[in-house]
C-alpha cells in the first residue's frame, strides 16, 4: 500500500475488505480442530504402547480438565482485553499470581473457616481487578496510539514490575492455600469408578462454569457488556454512538485481571503458589486464547480445556520433563495455522 491516495477502486476494495464475508453454512473444520484430533489420536496410540487402559486415560483426562479450566479462565482474560483494546496483555499472568498470593496473605488474620476463605478470595479478586484497571490507566492508556511492539513491551514491563514486587513482598518460597473442601492442606479424594478426583478439581470446574455463565450474562444482558462488545466490533463507531471507549478499555483490563485472579485462586490449593507462577500460567492462557482464535470467548474456553487435556495426556504418555514444551510447540503451530495472524493486519502497520 505504497499509494495511499483514495481512488474509488481503492476505497471500494477497502470497504469490501472491511465487510466480513458470511461464512457458508457447511464449513470445513478449522485447522485447530484437525490438529486437536490428530494430537489426541497420536497421544492415545503412544499410550497404548505403554499398556494404558481406559482408567489411565480417564485419570489423565480428569487431571487435564482441571488445569484446562484454569487455562480457559486466563485465556478469557486475554480475549476480553484483546477484543476491547487490541492489546495482548502480557501482564495477565501477574494477576494469576497476585490472586492466590493476596488471598493467602489475607487469610492470615482471618478465621480458618469457609467464610474467612471466601472473604479473603473476594477481597483478593477485587484488589486484582483494581490493579488491572490501574495498569490500564497508568501504563497502557497513554500509549493507545503507539506501535504494537511498544505496547507489548509495556505490558511486559508491567509484568516484570509486579513480579518484582511480589518477590519483595512474599519472597521466593512456595505458599499453601488450604483446599476449599477440607480447609486444610490435605484435600479430600473422591473415587469415581476407579478414577481419583481431588475435591479441589470439582471446585475448579464449578467455579469455571459459574464464571463462564456470569461472563456470558454480562456481555449479553448488561449495558456495559454490550458497550464492550460494541468496542470490539468497531471502536470508532462505538465512540460515535457515545460509548466511552477508553473507559471500556479500563473495564476490560479489570475484568481480565478478575478472571486471572479467580483462575489462580481456585488452582492454588492443588499447586504451591510462588511469586513466579504467573509467567507459565499467563503464557499457557495465551496459547489457549490463540487456539480459540483470540477473539472468541467460546473458542478460548475450548482452547483452554483442550490445552489442559492434551498437556496432561502428553505429560502422562511422553515425558513429564517436556510437559511445557507441548504448549509452546502448540503455540507456534497454531499461530502458523491461524489465518488472522498472517493476514496483513492493521496493527502491524
Amino acid at each position: 500500500m505504497a499509494d495511499r491516495r483514495a481512488t474509488p477502486e481503492l476505497v471500494g476494495q477497502r470497504v469490501a475488505a472491511a465487510i466480513p464475508t458470511p461464512r457458508p453454512a457447511a464449513r470445513r473444520l478449522p485447522p485447530a480442530a484437525l490438529l486437536l484430533v490428530g494430537a489426541v489420536a497420536l497421544l492415545v496410540l503412544a499410550g497404548r504402547r505403554l499398556g494404558y487402559g481406559l482408567a489411565e486415560y480417564a485419570q489423565l483426562l480428569v487431571d487435564g480438565l482441571a488445569t484446562g479450566s484454569v487455562y480457559a479462565l486466563v485465556a478469557l482474560g486475554f480475549v476480553v482485553v484483546y477484543r476491547v483494546s487490541g492489546v495482548i496483555n502480557f501482564a495477565q499472568g501477574a494477576f494469576v499470581m497476585l490472586g492466590p498470593m493476596l488471598c493467602i496473605s489475607l487469610l492470615g488474620p482471618l478465621p480458618d473457616t469457609a467464610a474467612g476463605l471466601l472473604l479473603a478470595a473476594l477481597v483478593a479478586t477485587a484488589a486484582c481487578a483494581a490493579s488491572g484497571a490501574l495498569l490500564h490507566r497508568l501504563a497502557l492508556h497513554p500509549l493507545r496510539d503507539a506501535a504494537p511492539l511498544a505496547r507489548i513491551i509495556v505490558t511486559v514491563g508491567a509484568y516484570v514490575s509486579i513480579q518484582g514486587i511480589a518477590l519483595k513482598v512474599w519472597g521466593p518460597r512456595p505458599y499453601v492455600l488450604p483446599a476449599f473442601t477440607t480447609l486444610s492442606m490435605a484435600d479430600r479424594l473422591v473415587d469415581v469408578g476407579g478414577v481419583v478426583v481431588q475435591a479441589q478439581s470439582l471446585w475448579v470446574w464449578g467455579t469455571a462454569l459459574v464464571t463462564f455463565a456470569a461472563l456470558g450474562a454480562f456481555f449479553e444482558g448488561t449495558v456495559a457488556g454490550k458497550a464492550m462488545r460494541a468496542c470490539a466490533v468497531n471502536r470508532t463507531a462505538a465512540r460515535l454512538v457515545g460509548i466511552q471507549v477508553d473507559r471500556m478499555g479500563t473495564l476490560a483490563f479489570a475484568l481480565a485481571a478478575t478472571l486471572g485472579a479467580v483462575g489462580g485462586i481456585v488452582l492454588a490449593p492443588s499447586t504451591r503458589p510462588t511469586f513466579d507462577m504467573g509467567l507459565e500460567l499467563g503464557l499457557k492462557g495465551f496459547v489457549a486464547s490463540i487456539a480459540g482464535g483470540l477473539v472468541s470467548f467460546p473458542g478460548a474456553v475450548a482452547g483452554g480445556i483442550a490445552l489442559g487435556v492434551l498437556e496432561s495426556l502428553w505429560a502422562g504418555v511422553v515425558l513429564a520433563g517436556f510437559k511445557d514444551l507441548f504448549a509452546f510447540a502448540m503455540l507456534v503451530i497454531l499461530l502458523l495455522t491461524f489465518p488472522r495472524s498472517r493476514a496483513a493486519s492493521e496493527e502491524s502497520a
Binding site: 500500500m1 505504497a2 495482548i88 501504563a139 497513554p142 500509549l143 503507539a146 506501535a147 504494537p148 511492539l149 511498544a150 505496547r151 507489548i152 513491551i153 509495556v154 511486559v156 514491563g157 508491567a158 509484568y159 516484570v160 514490575s161 509486579i162 513480579q163 518484582g164 514486587i165 518477590l167 519483595k168 509467567l279 503464557l283 495465551f286 496459547v287 490463540i290 515425558l319 520433563g321 517436556f322 511445557d324 514444551l325 509452546f328 510447540a329 503455540l331 507456534v332 499461530l335 502458523l336 491461524f338 495472524s341 498472517r342 496483513a344 493486519s345 496493527e347 502491524s348 502497520a349
Partner: protein, 345 residues
C-alpha cells in the same frame, strides 16, 4: 542524547562528553571514579561487549526490518551450549581428545555453531516470519521457551547428559590463540570488544547496503516493498539468520568467558532483557546496540549496589521493579530509544 549519531566519529566525542559531564555533575552522587572503581568492572564491560554483538543483530531484525523477536536469548544459548558441549563433553560424542585440546578447536566450534544456528534460524524464519506484529512476537517467544526447555531437559537424551540439565556445564576452557591464552579478563575484554566493534561495523555496512534499504522498506510496508521488487520472505529469513548467527557467536564467547553455562541464562527473561536493551539504545540504529547494552548493564549494577543508598529502606531486590517501571516510562516518553535514528540516506 538527541544528537543524531551516524558514525563512530561523532559517537566517540559524544561518549567522551557524557563521561566528562558525569564527572562534573555527579548525578545521584555517583562520580566517574565510582563508575570505574565500583560499577564499571571488567566483568560488566565484557558482558556489555557480548550483548552488543547480540543487539546488533536484534536491531537489524527489530529496528530495521520491524520483525519482533522475543526469543533471541535462545540463539545466544544455542551458541553457548554448542561451545560448552563440544569442548567439555566432546568425548561423549566420540571426538578424539587431541582434537578437542588443540587451540583452534574452540574457534572452529564457534564458527560452526554460528553457521548451524544461522541455518536453523533461516529454516525456522522461512516459516514463522510469515506472522506479523503481535503474532510474530508470540511465536518467537514460544520458540525461545522451547529451546530453553530442550536445553534444560538434556536435549531429550538424558543418558548422554550433554547439557547437564538444570545445572548446566562447568569447566569450559578459556580461548587461546596459538599458545597465547586470551586471559586474564583484561585481554579477553579487548577480544570481545574487537568482535563487538567488528559486528557494529558489519551492521553499519548492512544498513547502508541495498539490503539495508530493502529492510527499511519492509518495515514501512511489506506490500510496497514486494511491489518494488524486494523478495520480502527471503530477506526476512536472511536477516533472522544473521541475527541468530551473531547471537550464537556472542553465546560462544560467553561460554568461554564465564567458564560455566546454565540454561536459566537463556530463558524467557534474558530474551526480554535483550529487547529492553535494544529499546533503550534505540532499535533503529546500529550504534544503539553498544549504548543500550552498556546503559542497561550499568543501570542494573547501579540499582543493585546503590539503590540502598539512594532510597533508604529499599534493598536491591527491587531491581526488577525499577527495571520494569523504567521500561514503561521509556516506551511512554522516548519510544525510539536514546539514540535517534538517522534520516534515511
Amino acid at each position: 542524547m538527541t544528537a543524531r549519531l551516524r558514525s563512530p566519529w561523532t559517537a566517540v566525542p559524544c561518549a567522551v562528553a557524557v563521561v566528562a559531564v558525569l564527572d562534573l555533575v555527579e548525578p545521584f552522587g555517583v562520580r566517574l571514579g565510582h563508575l570505574i572503581g565500583g560499577l564499571l568492572t571488567a566483568d560488566l564491560a565484557v558482558r556489555a561487549g557480548l550483548f552488543t554483538i547480540v543487539l546488533v543483530g536484534l536491531n537489524l531484525l527489530m529496528g530495521y526490518a520491524g520483525q519482533a523477536s522475543l526469543g533471541q536469548a535462545a540463539f545466544y544459548g544455542m551458541g553457548a551450549f554448542a561451545s560448552a558441549i563440544l569442548t567439555v563433553r566432546a568425548h561423549v560424542l566420540g571426538i578424539p581428545p587431541e582434537v578437542v585440546s588443540a587451540w583452534w578447536w574452540p574457534w572452529v566450534v564457534m564458527v560452526a555453531a554460528a553457521c548451524a544456528v544461522a541455518a536453523f534460524a533461516w529454516a525456522v524464519g522461512w516459516v514463522i516470519l510469515r506472522l506479523r506484529g503481535h503474532y510474530l512476537a508470540m511465536a518467537t517467544l514460544g520458540l525461545g521457551i522451547m529451546v530453553y526447555i530442550v536445553l534444560r531437559e538434556n536435549l531429550g537424551m538424558p543418558h548422554l547428559n550433554l547439557t547437564g540439565g538444570f545445572d548446566g556445564i562447568v569447566g569450559v576452557p578459556r580461548l587461546r590463540l596459538g599458545s597465547a591464552a586470551l586471559w586474564p579478563v583484561g585481554v579477553y575484554l579487548l577480544v570481545v570488544w574487537a568482535a563487538a566493534l567488528a559486528c557494529v561495523a558489519l551492521g553499519e555496512n548492512v544498513v547502508h547496503s541495498p539490503a539495508g534499504r530493502a529492510l527499511r522498506a519492509i518495515h514501512g510496508s511489506e506490500a510496497a516493498a514486494e511491489s518494488v521488487g524486494v523478495d520480502v520472505g527471503a530477506l526476512k529469513a536472511r536477516i533472522f539468520a544473521l541475527s541468530a548467527g551473531l547471537a550464537s557467536v556472542a553465546g560462544s564467547l560467553y561460554a568461554h568467558f564465564q567458564a560455566a553455562v546454565v540454561p536459566d541464562t537463556f530463558g524467557f527473561v534474558p530474551s526480554l532483557e535483550l529487547v529492553v536493551m535494544s529499546a533503550v539504545g534505540g532499535m533503529r540504529t546500529v550504534w544503539g546496540a553498544p549504548l543500550g547494552a552498556t546503559v542497561v548493564l550499568l543501570l542494573e549494577q547501579l540499582l543493585r549496589t546503590h539503590l540502598l543508598g539512594l532510597v533508604p529502606a529499599v534493598s536491591g531486590e527491587l531491581e526488577p521493579v525499577v527495571f520494569g517501571v523504567l521500561l514503561i516510562l521509556l516506551m511512554r516518553f522516548r519510544p525510539s530509544g536514546l539514540v535517534q535514528a538517522a534520516p534515511a540516506p
